[in-house]
């Protein structure tokens, strides 16, 4: 048993490979040879993980992966426990379907990060692509639990169809954020693109930066929600996400929507004093 398992990319990859199933809870029970023999999909061919990565360590639920991983998809997908540290930018579907544990990406990630996840924590220090924490194709709901923290910005449709859970984005998010959100919370420290919360059922969008409130959301009041204070304090203490001056105390304008649905959702917009 090692303190950790470390995978290092042997050489740059010029076509995407998929390594779904390489999770820290899995490496916790595998020898170095077993890990190297894990199957990966390279284009239309099956290959061994050891063909692309050098493997050091065994039987540990602390997994480190390093290199330029932008063409590596599915890192940590389905993680149930343990800790995955990705030293570098990663491809698509990072942490998709994860149920527990901790994934920390020290770089950017592609589309579909945290897709349909239902537990654990996924932290990305750089930017994320589209559909962050959203629903897999054809699925009725997106993430149903857990937390996604993005220090940079995220693309379109963040938190789309989310059923529960928390997504916090330190930068901006693209259009259609929280589209058809069922429940859960999206906090955006920067600006939010067009059509936020369209078709939402419940759920919260906390907007600390610019946002155009859709006409289907009705203004309720300006107030100081203790919930936002609690949430931002938690994000700072747990993830070091520093809140800009004044946002803890508010005030926030509350809008209820989306009118086309039951209208139990909300947008809380920070009002500059």
């Amino acid at each position: 048993m090692s303190d950790s398992v470390r995978l290092t990319l042997r050489a740059a990859i010029d076509q995407p490979i998929e390594i779904d199933g390489l999770t820290p809870d899995r490496t916790a029970n595998l020898t170095e040879a077993d890990i190297a023999a894990l199957s990966v999909l390279a284009g239309s061919h099956r290959a061994a993980l050891g063909d692309f990565f050098t493997v050091q360590g065994e039987r540990s639920d602390r997994l480190h992966i390093e290199g330029d991983l932008r063409n590596v998809d599915g890192l940590g997908a389905g993680t149930a426990s343990g800790e995955l540290l990705v030293h570098g930018s990663a491809g698509r579907r990072v942490g998709a379907g994860m149920a527990g544990g901790w994934i920390d990406v020290r770089g950017d990630v592609g589309d579909d990060a945290g897709l349909g996840m239902h537990g654990g924590a996924l932290r990305i220090t750089g930017d994320a692509g589209d559909r962050l924490g959203a629903a897999p194709a054809g699925a009725a709901k997106g993430m149903s639990g857990g937390e996604i923290i993005v220090n940079g910005s995220a693309g379109a449709e963040a938190a789309a169809r989310a059923r529960r859970g928390l997504i916090a984005v330190g930068g901006n998010v693209g259009a259609e954020a929280a589209r058809a959100i069922i429940a859960g919370t999206l906090v955006v420290f920067g600006g939010i693109g067009a059509n936020p919360g369209r078709g939402s059922k419940r759920g919260s969008i906390v907007a600390l930066g610019e946002i155009d409130i859709p006409s289907t959301y009705a203004y309720a009041c300006s107030y100081q929600p203790t919930y936002v204070r609690l949430l931002l304090t938690y994000l700072y203490r747990r993830y070091g996400m520093d809140s800009p001056n004044g946002v803890l105390d508010g005030p926030y304008a509350r809008y209820c929507g989306d009118a086309g649905n039951p209208g139990k959702g909300e947008i809380l917009k920070f009002e500059q004093v």
């Binding site: 203790t226 919930y227 609690l230 949430l231 938690y234």
Partner: protein, 299 residues
């Protein structure tokens, strides 16, 4: 045993197992957090008549509270889980929910046993309430005229709480007894896991089980320590003692009671105090026995 000339009687305090909860009440300012806490812990001196015992444990700074606002930590004790749940719903509902800017959080997050007081209170929102999960804990946002009241869904329960730790200050005068009791309270206040549920932390009407003169009484005056009836009863008062005050402590566990008793007794050993005693029922009722000399000998 003597401490600074004060005799420590060879006796023990007899205490009971209780169920305990810790509430963290926050508000915009310390004033409002304290207002809510004072109301919540009001009329909560003894389970005999108040159905619960409660008190302020200590004030909390913004760095110690979940929402980074000023707060107050409150401990809450009852004899059983069922009663604890009911009392929490009643008291949080009538004191925190009503208090401007106040919120209520669980102060025992590690406790496995939990009571869903916040869940019960959510219905005040008449289906307009919202729930949110932060850090794995569910909170209820209940719409109120001021804006919103935030209450955590579940509260941890400490099953090994201890109620009724005590010691008696036997003094030559009422003034000396009060001064010693105040010194003891000052020494105990702020001890983690401890509250003093009686007024100012002090009890003048210690009780015995039942009554000789009336049937059906659960408790009546502890006449053995009442100076005015010394000739008419089987008095336990040493010569020269003209006033007795009692310090009653509830704690999250027995070691906390011991630590607080030690600090309090030491502070109470001052001029005008003849002896320190303790209240017990012969050891037949309560499972926790705090022997004064052992408490004072422990370090």
């Amino acid at each position: 045993m003597e401490i600074r000339g004060v005799f420590i009687q060879d006796t023990f305090a007899e205490a009971f197992g209780m169920r305990a909860a810790r509430l963290v009440i926050t508000a915009r300012t310390h004033k409002w957090a304290r207002e809510a806490a004072l109301k919540l812990t009001g009329f909560a001196t003894s389970v005999i008549a108040c159905k619960c015992e409660a008190g302020i444990e200590r004030e909390l700074g913004p760095a110690e509270t979940p929402d980074a606002r000023p707060g107050v930590s409150v401990l809450f004790f009852t004899m059983d889980m069922d009663s604890l749940g009911k009392r929490l719903v009643e008291r949080i509902g009538q004191t925190v929910l009503t208090c401007p800017t106040a919120s209520c959080y669980d102060g025992l997050p590690e406790a496995a046993d939990r009571l869903s007081a916040g869940r019960a209170l959510r219905v005040f929102g008449d289906r307009l309430q919202m729930s949110k999960i932060v850090g794995g804990q569910r909170y209820w946002r209940i719409p109120v005229m001021e804006g919103e009241c935030l209450i955590q869904e579940s509260f941890g329960v400490q099953k090994k709480g201890v109620g009724g730790g005590n010691f008696l200050v036997l003094a030559v005068s009422a003034d000396a007894a009060l001064a010693a009791a105040e010194a003891a309270v000052k020494a105990i206040e702020g001890t983690p896991g401890i509250i003093l549920p009686f007024p100012g932390g002090v009890v003048r009407s210690g009780s015995k089980v039942g009554a000789r003169g009336y049937t059906g009484m659960i408790a009546s005056t502890n006449d053995a320590y009442c100076p005015t009836v010394r000739p008419r009863t089987k008095s336990e008062l040493p010569d020269g003692v003209n006033s007795v005050l009692e310090i009653v402590l509830d704690g999250l566990d027995a070691p906390a009671i011991s630590r607080a008793m030690r600090a309090g007794i030491d502070a109470a050993c001052r001029p005008g105090v003849r002896a320190i005693g303790a209240g017990n029922y012969g050891g037949k009722l309560g499972p926790y026995h705090f022997h004064l000399r052992q408490v004072m000998a422990d370090e």
